[in-house]
Each structure stands twice: as structure tokens, then as C-alpha cells.
Assembly symmetry: C2
Homo-oligomer: 409 residues x 2
């Protein structure tokens, strides 16, 4: 169960003019559920994406990068769950290309206008024949209100579908943003194991859209970590169909850009936090805020050192105020000249460490009280500057081990 996350109902995921979505059971694995998503965009749609930094990036990531290089126009995305098409070498690239060719042939567009995505087990050959055979049924299922079906079809170890929408008014015209995401394990900044697709009908031009996509990824998905593993397949794409009846937004200085950006960021942040709340085995949602550092990079390093410590994560799982483990993690963040005597940290309203030692006001009762919460903020002050950074993570439970020990079976 995701921590304090209510998945959207189908009607809460608002249609985006210019986008239709269809799903089908291609039976990539031995399951009955839908596992293939086709989303089709009307002509004129442009897109931008950010992708995994893993050197063993998956074949679909290689193909997506090529297809977006120099030409942002897209007509479709195709996503399968159950197989990541990663670590599959040249055969994997050929399979991803074959999928794009099949979609393009069906829709009457160029293969480079199709973006392929895969999520699931690494290093197994992609059953591309099953995907190609299922495409006509996916096309027959296309509808504007199928966002909930879409996110359900791309889930792997996710326990809940994750999606969100926003509507804003620009010059009296309604503009819609809808996004979906999957991801639960192998979640780490730059990026998480994670696919997220967002669409808006705002007519944003390619350059501001690319910039917005990069910045929004940095401020949302790249602040989420479940287990420190950056997957081979992470992809985040925003598509803008331009169907909203407003003049094109081609400049970042345009005040309408800021309004659209804020709506996109709000949806992305909700999705990124939803991924952590649904982290494999998660029972708690932890916000780690590191302040008063010299720059945001060192703040982020400290936040990630805390977020990745198995000892800290198991202490949160146990609701055990074994807070020395956070002290230890701060000391391990690689800040060679950190002065421990200036470090403070608090859990929610409870000051735990003051000037590098246990705060005089701290009591075990207070520590136990706050550790029992299912949503906790760790606020660290480094006492050496005015930069800050925030990371979201979850605890580390028996279920994490169970889920990952049994994943392939």
C-alpha cells in the first residue's frame, strides 16, 4: 500500500485535446492484464524528454534519443511492461526499431515520429512479435479518456496507478495538463526506474518545452529515491499537442510559459512523490531537507547519504529513534571539511542534534512519537552557507526484500 497516496479515479485524469490512448493484453509475461500502451498524438504535437544516465541504457532509450534529436515532432508513443529491452545489444535496438516501424505503418507517419518505451525485466529478449501483433487492438481501443487504463497497463511492481491532472486558464482559455508515471523500485535520481508521460494541449514551442522538461525533471523526479539504483530505462516525456485555442508560446519570457510551467511542475511533483509513496515495501514517506550548505550540490549529497543508508531506512521502518544512524550518514556524505559541531537536525518538530551533539531538549519519548508517523521530515542544518536541497525517500522494510527476492517468479 502506498503511503498516504490515494490513486486517481479514472475521471480525475482529464483528457488532453489531441491525445488518445489505447491498451491491450500483449501477454509479454504470463499474465492476463493489459501490458501494452499506444498513445497517439494529433499532427503538430511536439515533445521533449529526459532519459536515464545509466551507461547500460536500454534499447528504447537509445531509439527515443535518436528520434527526438533535432526534430521534436511526434505522433505516437508505444510502451510495454514486463520486459525492459535492456542489456539486449543490437537485437534490442532492432526490436525497438521494428516496433516503431509497425506503429508508423499503422498510423501513416514516419518511424522517427514514434517513441518506444519498455519496463520490466532486464536482459531478456523483447518479444517484439507479440507487441506488433497486439498493435491493431491497441489502436482500436484508442480514446481520449483512457489515461487511467494507460497507467494501469504500464505498472510493474507498482501497487497503485499514479497520475494527476491540472487545469489552468490562459487568456480565458482552458489548458490541461495530465501526467502518468510508473515506478516503485530501482528508483534513484538521474533518473528513477521510472516511466512518466505528460501531455498538455498548450502550444509550447520545442525550445521552451525542452528547457521546461529538463528543469521539471530536476525539480521533481530527480529528487525521488527509493533504493539508490538508477535504472536502464528511465524516461520522462512531455508532449504538447497545441490544441488549446491560444497563440503559440515560443518564448520562455512569455508570462503564459510560467503559468504552464507551474502546472506541469505541479503534476510532475505529485507523480514523483507518488512513486516514492508507492516505493517497494514502503511504509513511510520521508522528506529530507538539508539547509545552510555552501551549495545545493553538497546539500543534495548529504540528503542522499541519509536517504540511501540502509541503517537509516530500517530504523524508519522500525519506528526506532536510532538517530545516531542519521548522524553517521551525514558524516559519510563526503564533505571533507564539514565541522560536526555546527550540524543540527530535527525530525518534524523535534530537535534531535544541536551543535553536533544530542540536543539538551531531546527526549526518547519525543523521538518515539515522531518516528511513529507515516510521513516524516528530516531537516538538517549544516551551518556553513545558505544553499539547500530536498530529497524524498521511503523506508526499507521486509517487504522490500520479499518483493525483490521474488520479482521474476
Amino acid at each position: 500500500m502506498a503511503v498516504r497516496y490515494s490513486p486517481p479515479t479514472p475521471d480525475q485524469l482529464l483528457p488532453v485535446p489531441g491525445v488518445t490512448l489505447g491498451t491491450v493484453a500483449a501477454k509479454i509475461k504470463k499474465w492476463q492484464r493489459d501490458d501494452l500502451l499506444l498513445a497517439v498524438f494529433e499532427p503538430g504535437t511536439i515533445a521533449a524528454g529526459v532519459f536515464t544516465q545509466n551507461r547500460f541504457c536500454a534499447a528504447p532509450v537509445v531509439v527515443c534519443r535518436r528520434h527526438l534529436d533535432g526534430d521534436a515532432r511526434i505522433r505516437a508513443i508505444v510502451v510495454n511492461a514486463g520486459n525492459a529491452n535492456a542489456g539486449t545489444g543490437d537485437a534490442g535496438i532492432a526490436a525497438a526499431n521494428a516496433t516503431c516501424v509497425a506503429v508508423a505503418s499503422m498510423l501513416g507517419c514516419a518511424p522517427r515520429e514514434v517513441l518506444p518505451f519498455s519496463t520490466g525485466v532486464i536482459m531478456e529478449p523483447l518479444p517484439v512479435d507479440k507487441i506488433v501483433a497486439a498493435l491493431p487492438a491497441a489502436r482500436a481501443a484508442l480514446a481520449a479518456d483512457h489515461w487511467f487504463d494507460a497507467v494501469s497497463a504500464i505498472m510493474t511492481t507498482d501497487t497503485v496507478p499514479k497520475g494527476a491532472s491540472r487545469r489552468i486558464a490562459i487568456d480565458g482559455v482552458t489548458v490541461t495538463v495530465t501526467g502518468i508515471a510508473k515506478g516503485s523500485g530501482m528508483i534513484h535520481p538521474d533518473m528513477a526506474t521510472m516511466l512518466s508521460f505528460m501531455a498538455t494541449d498548450a502550444p509550447i514551442a520545442d525550445r521552451p518545452l525542452a528547457k521546461a522538461t529538463r528543469e521539471i525533471a530536476a525539480a521533481s523526479f530527480n529528487c525521488a529515491t527509493v533504493d539508490g539504483d538508477t535504472s536502464t530505462n528511465d524516461s520522462f516525456v512531455i508532449a504538447a499537442t497545441g490544441k488549446a485555442g491560444i497563440p503559440p508560446v515560443s518564448d520562455e519570457g512569455d508570462p503564459r510559459f510560467a503559468a504552464i510551467y507551474d502546472a506541469l511542475l505541479a503534476v510532475a511533483t505529485e507523480l514523483a512523490q507518488a512513486i516514492v509513496r508507492d516505493g517497494e515495501g514502503a511504509t513511510k514517506f520521508i522528506t529530507i531537507s538539508v539547509e545552510d550548505g555552501r551549495d545545493s550540490d553538497e546539500c543534495r549529497r548529504v540528503a542522499l547519504a541519509i536517504a540511501h543508508s540502509p541503517l537509516v531506512k530500517t530504523a524508519f521502518f522500525a519506528s526506532d529513534p536510532n538517530l545516531g544512524r542519521i548522524v553517521c550518514a551525514i558524516g559519510n556524505a563526503g564533505l571533507g571539511d564539514l565541522d560536526p559541531s555546527r550540524v543540527c537536525f530535527a525530525l518534524d518538530d523535534v530537535l534531535v542534534v544541536d551543535s553536533g551533539g544530542r540536543a539538551a531538549s531531546y527526549t526518547e519519548e519525543d523521538g518515539q512519537r515522531v518516528m511513529k508517523n507515516d510521513e516524516i521530515t528530516v531537516r538538517v542544518r549544516l551551518g556553513r552557507g545558505d544553499a539547500s536541497a530536498t530529497v524524498w525517500t521511503c523506508d526499507f522494510s521486509h517487504d522490500y526484500v520479499s518483493i525483490n527476492a521474488d520479482y521474476r517468479s
Copy 2:
């Protein structure tokens, strides 16, 4: 249970002339077992140590560094389990100093000739009165053959006592090396949560001893990782009593130095591997060897990326050949210009990945067969140089979570 590790019997831990050890139940925690170790060295003993790189290093680490700075002579070490005296600020330093003063007063030496060590819970005040009160009984228990009692007294979550001895002949004279270590969780290079004490009666001078201590730590304990957390208290000390009847070894070029070094390294390696074999919840001992890199640093980064991946570690626990997780971890090691198509890896005798993709010869049966072993070697070839590095680690089991969720209770 430690993986394929038979703890030493008391008689296998050989006395080192010039060293006596005594233990006592100081009742640092609510337990009946001995938890305080006093080791006394005859005059003329010199020592060298390496200590944690954690910025929140514990009070005893601060005091040890001061006491060894510029004068290597020591007369005693005093070690308590149950409380790490870390994150305890100035009061912690005062407590460590008070312990040294009490030992020095009892033995008639200078406080700076006493080295203090603590291991256990972080950020709780050290019950220094209990330690001081227990010192006379520890002194009364001093004996040369108490190495097994000594290591038993400093255990925390360790399931077995870890110790080893070697005897070598130098110019027809027997020289002895005996070492003990504790540590099971919060184990990571530079250094592990770990205390290790070794003694030899070889008359090594302070400079070659310091060099040997640094190099041996790098080649043994700093190749061991259980959970990626560097503790606040890690300490590794070698004491040389000089009681063996051979002339002083004051030069690293002396062939006798090489012989003694090899014996020290053999004991340290055995102890470091024993810590991993007794890693919290460990069911498998994994050797990760990364070869054909540009330098040993990048090989080590790849080895640690594999060793620290919770997904890799849970797959080993499950005996599940979900080997894409190793591919993913290699891709995450931060080698920005790594060419995946040159990467190969094997598990024991089974080639899994060849030229970046699944090896043609690989079968699921072979993968399952080798993953069932309780001792497995992962051999990665990066295909871009001739450097290498090796790291030892263990798997990640339900028991790891249980042990660390319940540690303080």
C-alpha cells in the same frame, strides 16, 4: 550464522609475548556478558592505527588520533561494547579521556599511552563510571591466552567471534601475529564499523609499522562492505611489542619486514573476510573482481556499485539469476565514457554477459546453478585497460532488516 566461517577455538588464538588481556562485565547495556576489554602491553610496545573517515567520528577515535600523534608508544587499550561514545560532543571526549586517565593511573603510565575504543549505539552518553569501576576486575583477569575472551567481549551484532593467528620463523626465531575483529553491520570501506586489534612480538619500528598498518588496512578491511555505511568508530590498530628475540626491524627494505608484513596481511585479510561472512543477515559471501579497467579506482567504483545495489544483493539472497541487475549496477558506477559493448561478466564459471549483451552460451539453468552457491565470485571485465580491484560483500536478506529494525531493543 556466518557464511563458511569457522570461528577460532580459544587455543587457536596464539599468545603474543608482551601482551595480556582481561575482560569483565561492566554492564554497559542490560546484559550479563563481558563487555569491557583491557589489553596491556609491556613497555617498549609501539602501535599504529587507521581510523574512520566519517566526519562525525566518535570521541574515542579523536582521542586515539591524539595519543598516537608523534609518539607511537602505547601501554594499553581499553574497549567497551554496547555504547559507541559517538555523537556525544565534548562530554564524549571527556568520558574517553577519563577512561584513559583511570587506566593510566592503575597501570602507572601516562594517559596518552592508553588508547580507548567504543562500539555500540550512537548518540547515547557513555556510562564512564561503570567502565572505571570495572577496570580493577579487568586487570585482575589479565592473561596472555585471553584473546578469545577478548574478542567475545567486544562483539555487538556479530554472531561469531573473529580472530586469527600466524607464526613465522625469522632467522630461526618464532614471531607471532594474532588479531581479532568485531563488526557485522555498518560495514563499508574507509573503514567498516569495525574494530580490529592485531599484535605481534616482532620489533618493528614506528615508521615501517605505520606504513604497514595503512597498506594492510587498504588491502583488507577497506575491501569489505556489508551495507555501505562507514561507521563513526572504525579503528584498526597493530601493536608491536618487540619481545621476539630478533634485532629491530627499522627499515622497509629489510627482508624480514616483508615476511612480517605478509603474516600481518594474512591475518588482516582473514579477519576482513570473516566480517563480511558474518555480515548482518548474510547468507552468501560474494567476491566482486573488476578487471581490465583504466585504473584501480574506477575498477573499485564499479565493484562497489555492484556491492551496494540493494537489488543485486536481494537477488543473491533469493538465488535468483536476475543478472540484469548487475548490468544496471555497472552502468550506474559513474564511468561516463564506459562503452557497454566492451563489458563482459561471469559468475564463477558461467559467462553471463559478453560484449554488453547476454552471452550466447548463457542458460538459465547455469545461472540458477551458480546462484545457489553460498560463495560466488562476480568477475567483470571492462575492456579498457589492465587495472583491477576486488571487493568482498554479502547478500541482503530478511534478517538484515530484522536485525537493524530491532537493534536497540
